[in-house]
């Protein structure tokens, strides 16, 4: 048993931390978020050069990491700096199917930050369900996709879309799913980009007989989609821990410096106890992420169940930390100007990405039953 970082990972962590501390302050972040694409292509390229995307990919696929621990490490640091660059979309969700399909040229381009890829999977009625896909794929003169994809993260600026579609089966059957590569500039593809409430970008995508190239064997993609989403879920849980750390540190600082009724806020016992409870819950959330990260190479049920536990717990704790951090501050943390308010916003909104606390609690229960637990 060992919870320390390996030498390689310590170097990766140092690299990420140093770059973000030097180059990515909150003003830079806000500027990037306000840009038309919702991020800064130049910074993105620099981060790619540093290896922050490559760290998410196993060596055999051209990266130099790719284990659960690597994903967690990178995303915790991204959370700490509130990075808006498209790591989730292009570093995990869109990239992982390419890695697993052996698309080595594409993988290389994505790792290098040259190509931006996004996963178009969710649909207007599917909520967070992994298996609910109404978009149809028909084979004829090549493959053609028809359907609607919604809230596709960074889907507005992606150079390439990885799109899920159904070749057979009922709306909610895990069987009959397929993944395709779609050129967003192709005929039949319409994108409507928009900002998200915490400062990111997403798109509604309509496919009307859009030409597509299959990734792997059409009909067998459920396992791969689940894997990519599970990986993204782990990433978000780790990001949440990074966000929480900043919320906690900022609040603690504030309690020590802000004076009311003649003494620092931190001298009030009721606030002290709430602060301790916050730290305790964060340590619990961090522990759940460590478990999910450390077992990410295990069998499917273990992996997915631990990921569900981590996303559930970071969601539950995250809401509490965000709300307590604001409340313990008072008005100042309600302002746009105060950086922590954006951390709190992102922390709450993570609950809407790849499944909220209830979705993952439910998933945890179902996976437990599949595995004969409970």
């Amino acid at each position: 048993m060992d919870f320390t970082l390996s030498e390689e990972r310590r170097m990766l962590a140092d690299t990420a931390a140093r770059f973000l501390a030097d180059r990515y302050d909150i003003a830079t972040r806000h500027r990037a978020a306000a840009a038309p694409e919702g991020f800064d292509r130049k910074l993105w390229a620099e981060m790619a050069d540093l290896g922050l995307i490559g760290a998410l990919v196993p060596p055999e696929a051209g990266g130099f990491g790719g284990a659960g621990e690597d994903v967690a490490l990178v995303f915790e640091h991204l959370g700490r700096a509130l990075v808006v660059e498209p790591f989730l979309a292009s570093g995990i969700l869109g990239l992982w199917p390419l890695v697993r399909a052996g698309e080595s040229d594409l993988v290389e381009a994505v790792i290098a930050g040259r190509t931006l890829v996004a996963l178009a999977h969710g649909e207007p009625e599917s909520r967070y369900a992994v298996h609910e896909v109404a978009t149809r794929a028909n084979e004829g003169d090549g493959w053609r996709l028809t359907g609607r994809k919604s809230v596709v993260i960074n889907g507005d600026s992606a150079d390439l879309l990885v799109v899920s579609a159904r070749v057979s089966g009922d709306l909610d059957a895990p069987e009959g799913l397929a993944l395709f590569l779609v050129d967003p500039a192709a005929p039949g593809v319409t994108r409507r980009g928009y900002g998200t409430v915490e400062g990111g970008r997403a798109a509604e995508i309509t496919l009307d007989s859009a030409p597509a190239r299959p990734l792997g064997e059409p009909g067998q993609a459920f396992a791969l989609i689940e894997e990519a989403i599970g990986r993204g879920t782990l990433a978000l849980a780790a990001e949440a821990v990074g966000l929480m750390e900043v919320c906690k540190d900022t609040t603690l600082d504030y309690l020590k410096t802000r004076k009311q009724f003649g003494k620092p806020l931190g001298a009030f016992q009721a606030l002290q106890h709430r602060m301790v409870e916050m730290v305790l819950e964060i340590e619990q959330a961090r522990s759940a992420v460590m478990l999910a990260a450390g077992t990410h190479q295990a069998d499917r049920l273990t992996r997915e169940r631990n990921v569900a536990a981590a996303k559930h717990l970071t969601g539950r704790v995250g809401r509490r930390v965000a709300e307590e951090a604001i409340q313990l501050h008072g008005g100042i943390a309600m302002t746009w100007e105060y950086p922590m308010s954006h951390y709190a916003k992102r922390l709450v909104m993570l609950d809407h990405l790849l499944g909220d606390t209830d979705h993952h609690l439910d998933r945890f229960i179902r996976l437990g039953r599949e595995g004969g637990a409970a």
Partner: protein
Amino acid sequence: MELTYTPEEQEFRTEARAFIAENLPPALAAKVKGGKRLSKADYELWHARLQTRNWLAWHWPVEYGGPGWTPVQKHIFDEEMIAAGAPRIIPFGVNMLGPVLIRFGTPEQKAHWLPRILSGEDWWCQGYSEPGSGSDLASLRTRAVRHGGHYIVNGQKTWTTLGHHANMMFCLVRTDPDAKPQEGISFLLIDMTSPGIEVRPIVTLDGEHEVNEVFLTDVRVPVENLVGEENKGWTCAKYLLGFERTGIAGVAFSKAAFSHLKRVARETRKDGRPLADDPLFAARMARLEIDLMAMDIFNLRMIAAAAQGHAPGPEASLLKIKGTEVRQEASDLIRRALGPYAMPFLPEALDEGWNGEPVGPGYANPAASQYFNLRKSSIYGGSNEIQKNIYAKLALGL
């Protein structure tokens, strides 16, 4: 014990509902219900409509232009307004300053300022909080020094709600810096168009501008604008805070939010069925509904006591706490219910007249923003922590 309204009260509800239906423009109600931004003119219109029947200044005695309502009538009218989607009554002039002037003002002050509140000629804002004084209001530092017929005021106020609409501000200032914190404070009426006043917007974490900072540099305020005695402003401030506590639980707002939640949960699908049928979500909704039902009765108990002439006691602090918790929880569940569609945010869609295509259901756009905006409700008007301190001291003797 009788949980129903008297026939007279039920009749009043019918009358109130009819009046609102007749006077509230449907387009305005739609803006309120759709979570759009309201303009200054929207508020002014609704104030004016209410004033056509003397129904604006609920808390004023009849001789000053109040409607003479019982606490139950006020509660009924409040419920009907909110259910109908009327804009809220901006409280600063009519509910805060008005009662203070009636109680502490000179005959001249009353004659001058009260009619202008009713007519809408003045838009008042509140100059209480300062950057250094949050929950600890009495630590305020804005200085007023008397020079002949004027006070010269220097300092900074913050969290001034809708201060950018206001032409007048009632303001707590320190007139005796050597006195104990709560002594040496005075209550001044300040013309916002005076030289030396600068209003700067504060953008809140939902990206909206509703509150402001107000900087005062050598602002000259005529001594006639002192309300009550010099150095006794804390008395006015406390009196005013008592009035602010009416309707403190915001039950009607929570009821409206809960109806909206029910609609969202019926129309949203999870695993092919309405989200309202999902056991976990249904349980979350039911717990909230039960809390809300209980709070409704708790609130009515206070109103009934007030109707029997009991002054509002420290229970108001409990209602404030539970009221904000319930309302925040409702906004949280609405956000959750929307799933991925809580993410997209088109700020332009909050503008009047926007008729673009929404992303997801039309009501999704403001939901997350409202959740974040409502975090303020447990902070302002005496934070929930302060309410707990007050109750522990006054009611529990701790």
